[in-house]
């Protein structure tokens, strides 16, 4: 049974690779600087659409953490974000004309580029509104983490998506280009997450947070998944299955301990909920290019129309990673 399942998943992985290759025809190179990538460099992979306003801080944040090269897919932006990214000295950009949904939300494009450029590198796959926080991130660069993971023979590192939101109406404080979005969306839910295990792929399925609390009260099982495995020492035989929630081979999804201990883990601060969100939700709903028939965006559009306050009196204000570790949202594991 075990061998048969493994074989089936292996076939599935090959299928994703084929699909990635097919979808790679939709990619058009805008600026290719991949010849700058040196062995051992840390790479960030990202897909974006009309996120120009977020890009400056995104680059700044990850450069500060010590990322060496960015590989971005611009899904047909018309706000100049693609050109801005192409101007960055450490960034390679591809333009994708095709359907976001039919590239499985960008996974196929990135799978292809990762297969091509990320073999043997530690790679971080994040969206422009996600900011990676890991233990000691204020004093140690990501390379310290990846070196430690290498020394401990760990190939993947989990980081849960933590939805950040402002206090009051979403459109109360407009986000300025280049600004730290956590200055506005500085609140989060600290302890209302549910976890269950996917027995086929071994990944956890985490739900909860403000999105479940506000938009999915009546259908909690439809609430978006928050588990992610964004940091992986990539091999060309690996493939992301569904966003960065699941990876194949499935051993990479075992970023948690089942015998009572805690493995080291981080958090992706998700700053989706800014003043830009209303317009974005409307646009995305219109395009119908999101997961599960854009159900999520329908729920948002309905909720957002009433200008809800995601904040409640039990919300926590973000301070630093140590706070998240004390609250039990992430862990240092045995990294000290």
């Amino acid at each position: 049974m075990g061998a048969w399942t493994s074989y089936r998943l292996r076939l599935q992985r090959k299928r994703w690779h084929l699909r990635a290759r097919r979808k790679s025809r939709e990619l058009q190179v805008t600026k290719d600087r991949t010849d700058q990538i040196k062995p051992g460099d840390l790479l960030v992979f990202s897909t974006f659409r009309n996120e120009d306003i977020r890009l400056p801080y995104f680059f700044q944040y990850y450069r500060n953490l010590g990322v060496d090269h960015f590989i971005m897919v611009d899904n047909d932006s018309d706000d100049g974000g693609g050109e801005y990214a192409a101007k960055q000295p450490d960034c390679s950009v591809w333009k994708a004309k095709g359907s976001y949904r039919r590239s499985r939300f960008g996974v196929d494009w990135l799978n292809h580029l990762q297969r091509k450029y990320a073999h043997g590198h530690w790679t971080l796959v994040v969206d422009p509104d996600e900011f990676f926080v890991y233990p000691f991130c204020d004093t140690r660069p990501i390379r310290a983490l990846t070196d430690w993971l290498d020394a401990s023979d760990i190939r993947s590192f989990g980081a849960m998506l933590l939805d950040m939101y402002p206090k009051g109406r979403l459109d109360a404080v407009p986000y300025q280009r280049g600004q730290n979005p956590m200055e506005i969306a500085s609140w989060f839910d600290s302890g209302n997450y549910t976890i269950s295990k996917n027995h086929l792929f071994y990944n956890l399925w985490i739900q909860g947070g403000p999105r479940a609390r506000m938009f999915f009260k009546d259908e909690p099982w439809r609430a978006p998944a928050l588990n992610k495995t964004p940091l992986v020492k990539w091999d060309k035989n690996y493939a992301y299955v569904s966003s960065t929630h699941m990876v194949l081979p499935r051993g990479l999804n075992l970023v948690y301990d089942e015998w009572g201990g805690e493995k080291a883990s981080g958090v992706l601060l998700h700053t989706k909920f800014l003043d830009t969100f209303g317009a974005k939700a409307a646009e995305e709903l219109d395009r119908g290019q999101h997961y599960a028939g854009s159900h999520e965006y329908k729920a948002y559009a309905e909720g957002i129309a009433q200008h809800p306050d995601l904040w409640c009196k039990w919300s926590e204000k973000y301070i630093n990673w140590r706070q998240l570790e004390i609250l039990g949202l992430m862990s240092k594991g045995n990294w000290a």
């Binding site: 140690r140 401990s152 997450y193 909690p220 970023v255 301990d257 201990g261 949202l329 000290a336």
Partner: protein, 564 residues
């Protein structure tokens, strides 16, 4: 007389060079061994980079793989060279390329000069020390290990099993008793030369070549044959995690390392610029102090404990214990009350006044979560929505208790609630469950509904509660459980309440000075009799007298005091 340093290097050569210059500047001769896995070009460049230092020599290169003989061979040839070329060396210090001297080298020299005959080497018999890596302690001396633990794990394990099965043990050479310890030592010329020039060295080498991780046992064992004065500790600060991998020091450990007073620390992250800048340039004022790594020890042992045992009652993205491995299902004790809110009209506010704890209503009520004060959200932004709660009823409880660490939680539970958490409550040692069985009949009794509906409800509630009680009485129940029937309870309500509150361990609670108000039970006996007459036997409330009992009057007249 001086200290010679034998340095084993395999990567981060630029850092090794800095450290070599540091040792050399303090007039310590250095013999460097570079792993044979390092490419020829890199090696040559490295040799060139320190060519200007006269007291730095390079020894014959061996291939060093973790846990194999190569590291011992490297130490041997480098030590031999050291003893031969530098006759005024009295102590030889074995260090690695990622070791960093924390105190001025002259400090170390003085320290050793005052102990000219002492060998600093951690050396303990396997019987007394539980260092185990892969469960092999004494067996590492009696089995053979031809396969690599890292690269050929499967073969390694199978071959160990095979040897155990057929009792294929090796004989330990006469005269030695296996000892183990940290591989970083500092030995005197006398001891070290005795080991290296031993006439039986070929025998010992032949034996240790097949021992597992010989670098932790070769010198540690043989030193026992020759040393006059062993100080069984390493001068190198080096901590290991639960998998036997060394902990790594980073820039943010600077203050800790400064205060540790250790001579040398390992292992330093090669990019820890601040550590290298600070320790290779500064003068540490603490002279003559004994090494005191206590604080660092605590930090690292806490890290290991977090990795192996975790925080009790925490379920999160990197900790999802299987049932039975939670090390505490919830993080703190809490109290569950069943039937009390039905029997007493003002039970919640009363309990909160008496104990100063957080008292919720029915957290598992069917329509909503009844948080204290019926708030819409609660600690950790838990939501009062019943569907969200029932989406994962166990984690709802776990989250609630985790979010409110430091404050005791009390809540009501009963057969009208959703029962998903019934077994989890029963099995949780942190739960204190007090049950008045059959109290669910009181709201029915007080309701203004048709009797046939009441009868149907009563039958259903009785079924649910008896299932729940079966869980509480099962052998798997680990909670602190007290069950009264309604009839028993109202015989001596204050005594029962006092028992429960005492068990909660409320701090300023001497005696219950004020009783909660009991519901008016006039005619309740008759109500039960009516149910019986309809063929529905309510048995969970115990023997209730049919005639109007005195209890209906007594609570109001009764003075609120405690019978001790």
């Amino acid at each position: 007389m001086t200290v010679g340093v034998v340095m084993l290097v395999h990567n981060a050569l630029h850092r090794a060079e800095e450290v070599i210059r540091h040792w050399s500047a303090a007039a310590c001769p250095v013999v460097v061994h570079v792993d044979k896995n390092v490419s020829k070009a890199t090696y040559d460049a490295f040799v060139q980079s320190v060519a200007d230092l006269p007291d730095v020599l390079f020894s014959k290169r061996h291939r060093c793989e973790w846990g194999t003989w190569g590291i011992v061979a490297a130490s041997q040839s480098a030590s031999t060279l050291m003893l031969k070329k530098f006759p005024d060396v009295r102590h030889v210090y074995l260090a690695s390329g990622s070791c960093l001297p924390l105190r001025p080298i002259n400090d170390l020299k003085d320290y050793l000069a005052r102990r000219p005959r002492t060998d600093f080497i951690e050396s303990a018999t396997t019987a007394d020390v539980p260092w185990t890596q892969g469960g092999l302690d004494f067996e590492r001396f009696t089995l053979r290990f031809p396969f690599s633990w890292r690269k050929q794990r499967f073969l390694f394990d199978r071959y160990v099993e095979f040897q155990r099965r057929f009792k294929m043990y090796r004989r330990i050479p006469d005269g030695i008793v296996p000892h183990m310890g940290s591989q970083w030592w500092c030995l005197t010329r006398q001891t070290l030369s005795a080991i290296l020039e031993d006439p039986d060295r070929a025998v010992y080498d032949g034996y240790f070549k097949r021992v597992w991780i010989p670098d932790e046992s070769y010198f540690q064992t043989l030193v026992r044959l020759y040393s006059q004065n062993i100080e069984s500790r390493s001068l190198t600060l080096s901590k290991f995690d639960y998998q036997g991998k060394p902990h790594i020091f980073y820039d943010d450990h600077l203050q800790l390392l400064r205060r540790s007073d250790c001579f040398v620390a390992r292992k330093i992250w090669p990019d820890a610029d601040r550590l290298y800048e600070n320790f290779l340039n500064e003068e540490n004022p603490l002279k003559g102090a004994e090494p005191n790594p206590g604080k660092i020890d605590r930090i690292f042992s806490k890290a290991v404990e977090r990795r192996t045992r975790g925080r009790a009652g925490l379920f999160m993205q990197s900790r999802l214990p299987r049932p039975g491995h939670e090390n505490g299902f919830t993080s703190a004790p809490y109290s569950v009350f069943e039937g009390f809110a039905e029997l007493f009209e003002d039970f919640e506010p009363w309990l909160s006044r008496m104990t100063g704890t957080r008292v919720h209503g029915h957290l598992y009520a069917k329509d909503r979560v009844e948080f204290e004060g019926r708030q819409a959200t609660f600690s950790g932004a838990l939501c009062d929505n019943a569907k969200l709660r029932d989406h994962h009823a166990q984690l709802f409880l776990v989250n609630l208790i985790w979010n409110t660490r430091g404050e005791r939680q009390c809540f009501q539970f009963g057969p009208t609630d959703s029962q998903f958490a019934s077994w989890d409550l029963a099995k949780d040692p942190n739960a204190q469950i007090s049950v008045i069985s059959g109290a669910w009949a009181i709201p029915l009794f007080q309701s203004n509904r048709n009797f046939s509906d009441i009868r149907a409800d009563a039958a259903e509630l009785q079924r649910i509660e008896s299932e729940h009680l079966a869980a509480l009485r099962s052998p798997w129940a680990k909670a602190r459980i007290r069950i009264w029937t309604l009839a028993d309870f109202i015989e001596t309500p204050m005594e029962a309440l006092q028992t429960v509150l005492d068990e909660m361990g409320a701090k300023n609670l001497r005696r219950v000075t004020e009783a909660p108000k009991m519901a008016d039970l006039t005619g309740f006996g008759q109500f039960l009799q009516n149910l019986k007459n309809q063929g529905m036997h309510p048995y969970l409330m115990g023997d209730f007298p049919t005639e109007a009992p005195q209890v209906n009057e007594r609570p109001s007249r009764r003075k609120p005091y405690l019978v001790r």
